[in-house]
Amino acid sequence: MGKTIAEKIFAAHLRDRPFPGTQVLDIDRVFCHEITTPVAVCDLAARGKDRVFDATRIKAVIDHVTPSKDSKTALQAKILRDWARRHGIADFFDVGRNGVCHALFPEKGFIRPGYTVIMGDSHTCTHGAFGAFAAGVGTTDLEVGILKGVCAFRDPKTIRVHLEGVLPPMVFAKDVILYVIGQLGVNGATDKVIEFVGPVINAMSMESRMTVANMAIEAGGTSGICLPDRTTAAYLWPFIGNDYADIDDAVADFRKWHSDADAVYEQEWRFDVSALAPQVTYGYKPDCVKPVTEMAGSAVDQVYIGTCTNGRIEDLRVAAAILKGKKIAERVRGIVSPATPKIFQEALAEGIIETFMSAGFCVTNPTCGACLGMSNGVLAAGEVCVSTSNRNFNGRMGKGGMVHLVSPATAAATAIAGVITDPRTFCTA
């Protein structure tokens, strides 16, 4: 019987099967940020086990609230910083070099096809875009990951999602994944891996694939996975150039991680995106999704562009193309957070930052910021934000606030109009 990519990665990393149905895997990358890691490292210290399994395989960043906004967040940052120094974790990213974890770590070349990755952050599934098994875990799993380099999972069951057709203009990876979550439901992939395949994925950049994989957790998925190909190899080339003769060689090697033709799936879904319209969420769950046209005209107080879902350069380019030469509506507060310093610098060089600022946007430093309602754009009760992030939970961006999830194009169009707006209104193509 053939294997799925997840089953192949599990087999290659199996350390122990303590019980039927449970696999303890060796972990290639343990990622850390300042919200979920401090309790883990304090607990290790309290147990007299202030050690790390391998400092080169641990990467850490301060990203959720940065620079620190108050004494409490300063303490969290300090605990992480001191710990990283104490253990010689060379890849630690502090103020000035830090950015949103799931944008920063791929950009630094820390992921490879076939890797196992854990982090105390549910959107760790993002890294599955590279053909890795990447899962969000809690602080205790993180703690054991830091100490022993292992993590336990149930046997991986996979849902395969085929994305067929060609994306219409002004319809993007974000619209695709919102639509898919709307179809699967917030519980549709719980405890399962979602494997995204088909011509739509094949045609996507790594940035777009990360947008798709990022939201696998919103359907309950353990990891979202794309099969590694030439696009993956080209993105990683600066980091893997010494390991392969040429890109063809890398692409051929990556094929060892592709699911077998006779692999067994729990479920198969097929969607043709050729007639897909821009999507928006309307409730407090990410599966409450409908076409933007059905919500067009609703008033908005804030537009937020950024996050691990849509704060990458390609997202900023799309938004800036719509904003160029225009002003955002008087009643709207526009906020953009480029996800990493590199993205910020690229956006500066390309004139994108200038476009945002001339349109009336506030440009913040790279951080999660408003996404989880901790800084840089928290909503007041009763306020509405159209956001390129991934969660619309009640109170997520501030107590009593409402969040509508959209693509960067829809966010930009909405900022200009001051009400929820279909970006195709601005499509001249």
Binding site: F19, L75, G120, S122, G138, T139
Partner: protein
């Protein structure tokens, strides 16, 4: 560290209760579990439920519908129950990360089939329900206003081993 798996139960009659509702992000700046105590379920809006109420303060068990604990990976959600003396959660289903966090802390996240879960909710309509969990025999005993229910449950061998060991750190430290 022995956990108490019994006590008065609070019923949350809703699916998809997420970890932002269990413990909002604004409290994630705390670096100790104890500090989370006053904020459990603060953002949960549900008819008849009061996060500051005396019922939640006395509870030892919480019962809810499906996909409980979805969303953020924050273990703060499991800790917020733990420091409030609630070491057993019973639901139709849990999100993967939340369920794992509970067992990793040596606590119980018990999934029940619809019909069994309904028996508990039916009991709750009679009056206050007290639940006790017999881990050894995989049995839940529930009682309200003189009516009793006994329900068998199943957890994996791994989950059971985590509870018995007191959590994943203890288990993993011994074994790896």
């Amino acid at each position: 560290m022995a956990k108490n798996f019994s006590g008065p139960a609070v019923f949350l009659d809703r699916s998809d209760i997420n970890t932002d509702e269990i413990i909002p992000a604004r409290y994630l700046t705390e670096v100790t579990k104890e500090a989370l105590k006053p904020y459990l379920l603060e953002d949960l809006k549900l008819e008849g439920f009061d996060p500051q109420g005396e019922k939640l303060a006395r509870a030892g068990v919480v019962v809810a519908r499906s996909n409980f604990g979805c969303g953020s990976s924050r273990e703060h959600a499991a800790w917020a129950f733990e420091v409030n003396g609630i070491h057993t959660l019973i639901a139709g289903s849990f999100s993967r990360i939340f369920r794992q966090n509970m067992f990793n802390c040596g606590m119980l996240a018990i999934e029940l089939p619809e019909a069994d879960l309904e028996k508990l909710f039916a009991l709750a309509r009679k009056g206050e329900v007290t639940i006790s969990v017999d881990l050894e025999n995989s049995r839940i005993s529930a009682e309200a206003a003189g009516t009793k229910e006994a329900i068998q449950f199943a957890i994996t061998s791994f989950d059971r081993a985590l509870v018995e060991a007191g959590g994943w750190v203890e288990f993993a430290d011994r074994r790896y």
